[in-house]
Amino acid sequence: KASLLFFSLQTFEKLLIANRGEIACRVIKTCKKMGIKTVAIHSDVDANAVHVKMADEAVCVGPAPTSKSYLNMDAIMEVIKKTRAQAVHPGYGFLSENKEFARRLAAEGVTFIGPDTHAIQAMGDKIESKLLAKNAKVNTIPGFDGVVKDADEAVRIAREIGYPVMIKASAGGGGKGMRIAWDDEETREGFRFSSQEAASSFGDDRLLIEKFIDNPRHIEIQVLADKHGNALWLNERECSIQRRNQKVVEEAPSTFLDSETRRAMGEQAVALAKAVKYSSAGTVEFLVDSSKNFYFLEMNTRLQVEHPVTECITGLDLVQEMIRVAKGYPLRHKQADIPINGWAVECRVYAEDPYKSFGLPSIGKLSQYQEPLHVPSVRVDSGIEQGSDISIYYDPMISKLITYGSNRAEALRRMEEALDNYVIRGVTHNISLLREVIIHPRFVQGDISTKFLPEVYPDGFKGHQLTDHERRELLATAACLYVAEQLRSQRFLGTPRIPIAKSKRNSWELSVHLGDGIYPVAVSKDGSSFSVEVDGMKLNVTSEWNLALPLLSVTIDGTQRTVQRLSRDASGKTSIQFLGTVYKLQVLTKAAAELSKYMPEKAAEDTSSILRSPMPGAVVAVSVKPGDMVSEGQEICVIEAMKMQNSMIAAKTGKVKAVHCKAGDTVGEGDLLVELE
């Protein structure tokens, strides 16, 4: 019914999406619904990407590095001319907040699906936006409203404002070029890193400094405005769960806001939008302290990554509204029409290793990939498929997993199920972290802040910690899988010349290694189910034992668990994803386990004297040369991956023996960088 309505409206005939990945796919979906033809752009490595396949037309705009493809304005303008696209949706990132791009489009008479150049410029500049917000009577954070010239000035200003302070790129966003400093030394270091990152990410190394609000929540208001001076606020999104200032879990609404605070924030957001004559969808980000004081942080003049949660609770299609507004239509809704229906949660599923600083990028080919769309009320926004490559060139996001429910508990329960049913093989992913966050008692109670991860996991994330009973369930599952595999390997089809001796064995004494423990497990076959004895407890385990399926449903004493067996080998080693976390186990017969004692111990590699790259990336700088003395904790080199710079430090004091990398090198995960004597 809805689509009939769009056909009757005059809209764009052809729209170009100046982006890639999930957001390009997301925009194309709405365009299809509205009957708009789509043009995708892509780099040469993306020629087979999902967004390219989905679009009506696709044109290559350059080689893999974003500066030569997705940021290549000349090439993109050429494609627009050639394909006669009437409008451009920039998605998020890339050129979405680039005023020069918006200006060039306007000069060619092509509609930019977003606000006008003036609003992008005003809001894109943190200094200017703060002044504007102040004038529009929006609450702002105390700080220095100007550009910081050098590290010395940074220190002086920081002392004036009082520590802690936040140093951030004036042109920044998305956590890039942002550092927190608690003293003079950190201010100097932060200034250096932020200006480098700002220069490489935005081509603009101007920085500013403001008071850092310790332990705040990050809550943002979605606004929608038209070209006729109307503006609405579409409620808030709670985005406090972050790592390195990048969001991981978002939800709408927030457990923290009462309707009064919500309205106050919404009204200020709308006031700001009106003050810059904003049109299109935009987001006003606030920091909210524990007493519900809120401060304007910045306004993002684009569609946000986490917009789906707002769509879920309001029923609006934000991309569609953006296209309508860009075409000049007035808003269809009044503020009173904007509901909060139910609860929506979004998890950002990344190709990264959550065990390293809550997530360092990983790359690879998705050898198996299956979205949990069979779970009710699940939405997956993704731009990849089985066989896709996650490369070092782009953001390592695999997808946005959104679940919806009539209340928060239901949405979270579905999220848990969806995460368990998500099959991602070939790259390391952060499902374990996401699942731990959403079941953590603090999160469940809504007691969160932007410091949630470091507070809950002060020593870093270590995966799910099994309770005694969960451990028994895991051991039983692993043992039964082993037995099922053994039984199957005795089943040959056909009638062999030498008859196969059928084993009458129906009980197995096993020994299962898990972590540092060795657990005796006895399994006996009991019709179609297994009876398992572990830790003196008897468990009944049933399953179809289809060993080819990526998802395995196992029922242990009536509790259903979805587990994934990621690998197995002949020596009984197996890795099983259980409750989101991957556990490495080894299942041996009792006899084999006893003989294992006689196997010689293998010498482990001494890792303190070698430095390996923790992730794939590019070497930005190497600060040592062979023969140098380094002290423990001293910076040895800097690796940049996905535009984030990471300082690699010495694990011990010693002399540098050999340097295996130089600035500009591309390195893979585990590559040897530097050796100490």
């Binding site: 087979n48 199957r488 005795q490 010349r497 030498i498 294992s596």
Partner: protein, 450 residues
């Protein structure tokens, strides 16, 4: 009883490492017998010192038609025994040779194996080693030092790493004795009991008509860019299980066992990731020996082709690439088992012919749309045809030959298939070809260019 034999196979294997250090009885240094692995018959002998008492087991294995597994840990001839021990070697060697092609023979080297003892494993079909604790050499480091004045450790001279990566003497290496024995059990399940038996078919949970969508994009757009042939192999076979043979040696060719719809198949694939997947001396020999094993034991061959040709250069020519490349050609041509070939990308020149082409009696030869069947790459071809002249003929050559159509039109490939359907096609073909019967003309034996 059955149970005892089953236990015997497991226990004998596992006990071995212990016994070697404790056992002092000469009579105990050879243990032979028969047992069952997953219900299937196998003959096993293990030797700590070399004694000629176990050729009965091999005679019986040959008569009954069941594999022979040797667990070796032998210091070589006993100098005290003199000529008798030499006779003992020869008895075993003869039986190894007579059993060859009759029943699969597997050697697992679990300790130092020196002198004449090393030739028995070398005559068997597969030699597996244990890392850090097993060695194979003609003469130990002391003798080497006195003869050639080379300083070398046991590990460097004949350790698992040397033989699996450098010499090509061993086919796989495992972490320790237990790991090795467990892998041997798994490996055993792929093998038919003898040349009289078909390749075994196991219960399979992986649907034979499963589509593999990622294969449609696995071959990169630029024809010079590498990809991993193992990605293709794993995604096509049952449950991604691939028992690779010689994974660290001549890595430009991949060989190993897998199952398709439960049936054991032998897989040969060029590996574009290593040396562009070209054929050289080592990879030809590695491939040829594997192909001959599969042919001898009724294991269908599936060949994935992406080969730019034979490796040029003096090193290869002086080494006899012509003679060694001919081995692989010989092996594929001679094989009468079902032969299915998939050309994923390049199939250039003589190497195209070699890689189980239609002309060598391939039963089903497929090309992916990315296939290029040509005498050579477009750039090189144009350089030779228009020697020294500026020309834009390269594009013409690409148009004409860098695609599967010319070959398909001539019937050199049976079909151009959607890569995602490859598993389904192969499984269907194997069902039909299960009853394939083909014989070569009678002869005493062929004369493969050794």
């Amino acid at each position: 009883s059955f149970d005892e034999y089953d236990m015997f196979v497991e226990h004998r294997c596992s006990d071995f490492g212990m016994d070697s250090s404790k056992n002092k009885y000469p009579g105990d240094s050879v243990v032979t017998g028969r047992g069952r692995i997953n219900g299937r018959l196998a003959y096993v002998f293990s030797q700590v010192c070399f004694l000629s008492v176990h050729h009965q087991v091999m005679d019986q294995a040959a008569m009954v038609g069941a594999p022979v597994i040797g667990l070796n840990d032998s210091g070589g001839a006993r100098i005290q025994e003199g000529v008798e021990s030499l006779a003992g070697y020869a008895d075993i060697f003869l039986r190894n040779v007579l059993c060859s092609g009759l029943v699969p023979q597997i050697s697992l080297i679990m300790g130092p194996c020196a002198g004449g003892a090393v030739y028995s494993p070398a005559l068997t079909d597969f030699t597996f080693m244990v890392k850090d604790t097993s060695y194979l050499f003609i003469t130990g480091p002391d003798v080497v030092k006195s003869v050639t004045n080379e300083d070398v450790t046991q590990e460097q001279l004949g350790g698992a790493k040397t033989h699996t990566a450098v010499s090509g003497v061993a086919h796989r290496a495992f972490e320790n004795d237990i790991d090795a024995l467990l892998n041997l059990r798994e490996f055993f399940n792929y093998l038919p009991l003898s040349n009289r038996d078909p390749a075994p078919v196991c219960e399979c949970h992986d649907p034979s008509d499963r589509l593999v969508p990622e294969l449609d994009t696995v071959v990169p757009m630029e024809s010079t860019k590498a990809y991993d042939m193992l990605d293709i192999i794993r995604s096509i076979v049952d449950e991604r299980e691939f028992f690779e043979i010689m994974p660290s040696y001549a890595r430009n060719i991949v060989v190993g066992f897998a199952r398709m719809n439960g049936r054991t198949v032998g897989i040969v694939g060029n590996q574009p990731k290593v040396a562009s997947g070209c054929l050289d001396i080592n990879s030809s020999v590695k491939g040829a020996r594997f192909v001959r094993f599969c042919d001898a034991f009724n294991i269908p061959l599936i060949t994935f082709v992406d080969v730019p040709g034979f490796l040029p250069g003096t090193a290869q020519e002086y080494g006899g690439i012509i003679r060694h490349g001919a081995k692989l050609l010989f092996a594929f041509a001679e094989a009468t088992v079902p032969k299915i070939t998939v050309i994923t990308r390049k199939a250039y020149g003589g190497a195209y012919d070699v890689m189980s082409s239609k002309h060598l009696r391939g039963d089903a030869n497929y090309a992916w749309p990315t296939a290029e069947v040509a005498v050579m790459g477009a750039k090189g071809a144009v350089q030779i045809i228009f020697r020294g002249k500026e020309t834009d003929a390269e594009a013409e050559y690409v148009d004409k030959f860098a695609n599967p159509f010319p070959a398909a039109m001539r019937g050199f490939v049976d079909d151009i298939i959607q890569p995602s359907t490859t598993r389904m096609r192969i499984c269907h073909d194997l069902d039909v070809l299960a009853s394939k019967s083909q014989t070569n003309p009678w002869k005493k034996h062929a004369n493969i260019p050794l």
